[in-house]
């Protein structure tokens, strides 16, 4: 049985690219859920029947990826789900903030399929 992934990005095209990259890895993907911002992503988590890993952008409208990560960590229901940041935001302060909040990884765009493979493999193994 494969894993369930939640992809959070305000760009629908980027969500498609991320899904394609994840499905090209050697990790079996069962279900891919999508959300366009942190608010929508929290809704998905509430209604989903278990999510194994989240890949989220940082700069998004309504609720950015760092606030989303903060709220995920405060949840008793899904607070332990690994969250990987996938973003153009490479400022050291932002990376440190994300890792300090418990991000499981930080991938800078543009990314390679190998980076996605390594990030996902590290989490599921």
């Amino acid at each position: 049985m494969g894993v369930t992934v939640l992809i959070v990005d305000d760009s629908a095209v980027m969500r498609k690219i991320l899904e394609r990259s994840l499905r090209q890895t050697q990790v079996a993907i069962d279900t891919v859920l999508e959300a366009a911002d942190g608010v929508e992503a929290l809704d998905r988590l509430q209604s989903a029947n278990g999510v194994n890993v989240i890949f989220t952008d940082v700069n998004m409208p309504n609720m950015d990826g760092l606030e989303f990560l903060r709220q995920v960590r405060q949840s008793t229901k899904y607070g332990k789900v690994p969250v990987v940041m996938v973003t153009t935001e490479g400022a050291e302060a932002k990376v440190n903030e994300a890792m300090g909040l418990g991000a499981a990884g930080y991938i800078k765009k543009p990314f390679t399929p190998v980076q996605m493979q390594e990030a996902l493999q590290k989490i599921v193994s």
């Binding site: 095209v13 153009t88 935001e89 490479g90 543009p110």
Partner: protein
Amino acid sequence: MPEIQQEVYRAVREATNSVFSTMLSREVTPEEPKELVDPPPLTGVMALLGFTGEWAGLGMVYCQEKLAIEVSSTMLMCEVTEVTNDVLDAMGEVANMVIGNVKDLLQPTVGTLAMSIPTVIYGRNFQARTTQHRHWLIQPFQSGGAAFEVRICLTPKENGAG
């Protein structure tokens, strides 16, 4: 040429090459950069992001619709034949990656910069300008027989400027 301008052009070339080779498998060839004050109106697809910080301004990726359609077809892995919402979304994401990486490369020199989410415009005879900044650094490129430009308008905030 002032050192900061050289640094902007260098950052633009490095960021653009990285995004186009990694995400689009396309080679890009930089051409001679140019500077313009209040550039003339454009026609095509323009993806814009704002910078704020000790320096402020705009970054832009500009191309004709043919290249925007080609880029989108590659990103979506399907044939796109006209400018749709997906094409505008794809160009916004390309600009987000290019300008975001330019921002990171320039931060050691200009200090911390925050960046907006992209705005994409498609049409004829449009201009972009900020209130105080009118001086654009323009780096043209060729890729697969099509031309595109990365434009940066970035100046230090004056004392008291908001």
